[in-house]
Symmetry: C2
Subunit: 366 residues, 2 copies
DNA sequence: AGCCCAACTGTAAGCGCATACAGTTGTGCC
DNA sequence: GGCACAACTGTATGCGCTTACAGTTGGGCT
């Protein structure tokens, strides 16, 4: 029965072919089809060819579900992080306005970016490492209400789950952890039994603060992040450690929220300008730079500014931002590594990996 | 048989509980367990409570594999995009240098970012839309050699696949498309039968070029992207269309590669400075701005510069970059929408959605 | 020629769930 | 009190694959 290629080529996926279909066409058993796909060397070449021909001809793609069920593992790793709030187009209807081009003028007064580069970088690291190790990567962001459903859903789909600190309620995490290994990112180990991967927040902040103090500055402002952030807490500790070792330092502590807008707001409101503003993250520091630019206050001459994170935008800001670079991509990779290590050996002790950071001196505090 | 909670709570996942375990504990059939999870209202409240208690007590999380197999759909959508080349730590060993903080000075001569924000944005849009519609999102980047394996792998795991143009060989895509719907991003429809989602490249570039010409500029340089990019081709068309409608315009066309480094290189090498440099994307334009800064050539007074994409970095560059904003997040969302539309109705005609763009006037070409 | 063993290949039993269909129970009504 | 029917619940099957185990084949030996 000869079939013209085109005939089946544009068939509208009447029914996805299965091992049975392939086996029938190749005149072998389904076991042989499975072998050709999983362990080609265990099949005679001639048989293998017949099977592969059938695979190609039928457009066969094995079902990962069936495979996962039979093999008892999915080969997928999940990454869960705090959600980008769904601001854009809340009703979700897109209009195809083909031919539509509008022109607007952006005078820099509009809403600043809300985007957090941090997660992109972590995600990139995770993606690279996961596929390198033969795992697919599934991503999910925390949506307020449906968080539990999503976490449960993803937990049933993966062999292991990496979660950003504070994005999943402890109880839910504990529930999930009974089924698959969980690694927590950006938090050092507390009393829980999970693996952790974090960066050297306190020593990093301490080092950059010491650098600031080494310039002779004594009147400092510290713009912190949200109180429930473990990262923020550690950074503040590092800052205090540095400050406490030097006499005659005055500190004004302001609570920010890690955002650029808030950094700008705060900096616009400063009356008695300090000699240096140490920010808990880069976004905040960039907001401060925005404000100083607007107020025509020279950085670093009138006030020095430092950040923390090492996001790309800081390399191109005006002035270029002095900061502590944390290895975000490595963080993602390390999470996957920790997870695969535990999958290989579930009996491993819970580990807590702390990645090194780097103080990067640029123009905002030379 | 009473069991103290703690006993099982810290069990090291001896074996993930299944519906059978839950059913046994709740003294119901597995069908009822399944109903409680999928369709709670179809079960008497009292029974439901017993089941939920068992779920909680046992730490039960349903297997998506088994569910997907039985239900014949995975509820996962895949996103495939060109890979970030795996540059960092090629051997993959991480050293936990806890306590390690190094200090470096960054004088802006080092390697510029290689990172492409474009994909991050698209990914974000896809992620939002997928989960909103009840699909999980699986991401994969194209790795040179193993591309075929990865695409096949992911194809077996998802109900639909979104692919960035030119990242997957046609033949492979055709193979996959016989099993699941495929939508191609950032390319208008050619001869294939896939759904497409793209942006209004040509009209957008035409509009911004017209704006440049409206300032009176007549000697232009155009820095294009790689030749095999459909986006680039369309933008160049738009540029030409604008230029052709005005007399006395001279154009020098240079071939770039969409990267910031290359943009800088090219701009550093310019001898006869044009009145305006129109770039095929923002990264290139930012590189040009870098170069002009270094050469102390004033933008826009001595030369105007425009980009295309609307990445966040352009909002904060010096000077702020005039560009064409393309809705990257919307692109990702639209891809998911197209996919779900086709899943709902496989008989749909292949559609080609073109999203509108927006010319954003900022300081580099006011 | 007969035997043994290596190299293949086939058979069959699940993996954990959804669901059609077949009970079972409880309620309102005559 | 008995019947019809609604509201639940249980039984049984199959989704598409992996894999232990049981054939089958053929070549090298004696």
């Amino acid at each position: 029965m000869q079939t013209r290629g085109t005939r089946e080529d544009d068939a509208i996926m009447a029914k996805a072919p299965t091992v049975y279909d392939v086996a029938e066409r190749a005149r072998v058993s389904i076991a042989s089809v499975s072998r050709v796909l999983r362990n080609p060397d265990s099949v005679k070449e001639q048989t293998r060819e017949r099977v592969l021909e059938a695979v190609r001809h039928l457009g066969y793609v094995p079902s990962a579900n069936a495979r996962g069920l039979a093999a008892r593992r999915t080969n997928v790793i999940g990454l869960f992080f705090p959600g980008h709030d769904d601001v854009t187009g809340s009703d979700g209807r897109l209009v195809a306005a083909s031919g539509g081009v509008t022109v607007v003028r952006d005078d820099a007064t509009g809403d600043p970016e809300t985007h957090n580069y941090y997660f992109d970088e972590v995600l990139r690291g995770a993606e690279i490492e996961a596929w390198r190790r033969g795992f697919a990567l599934m991503v999910a962001a925390g949506r307020g209400a449906s968080r539990e459903a999503i976490v449960n859903d993803i937990a049933g789909r993966v062999d292991g789950l990496a979660v950003l600190a504070r994005t999943v309620p402890d109880e839910l995490l504990a529930h999930v952890a009974r089924r698959i290994p969980v690694v927590v990112l950006a938090a050092t180990r507390g009393t829980d039994e999970f693996d952790h991967v974090s960066v050297n927040n306190a020593p990093g902040m301490q080092a950059i603060t010491e650098h600031v103090l080494s310039t002779g500055a004594r009147r400092l402002m510290y713009i912190a992040g949200p109180e429930d952030s473990p990262d923020d807490r550690e950074r503040l500790e590092g800052f205090r450690a540095a400050v406490d070792r030097v006499d005659g330092v005055t500190v004004e502590l302001v609570r920010g929220d890690f955002s650029r807008v808030r950094g700008r707001e705060i900096a616009l409101g400063i009356e008695a300008m300090p000699e240096a503003i140490v920010c808990a993250n880069d976004q905040t520091a960039l907001g401060v730079l925005d404000a100083m630019g607007r107020r025509s206050i020279s950085v670093p001459d009138d006030v020095m500014v430092t950040g923390f994170d090492g996001i790309a935008a800081g390399r191109h800001s005006t002035p270029r931002l002095t900061t502590v670079h944390q290895p975000m991509v490595e963080l993602g990779r390390a999470a996957i590594q920790a997870l695969t290590a535990r999958l290989d050996d579930p009996a491993l002790d819970a580990q807590s990996l702390v990645l090194p950071v780097q103080v990067v001196l640029r123009d905002s505090c030379p």
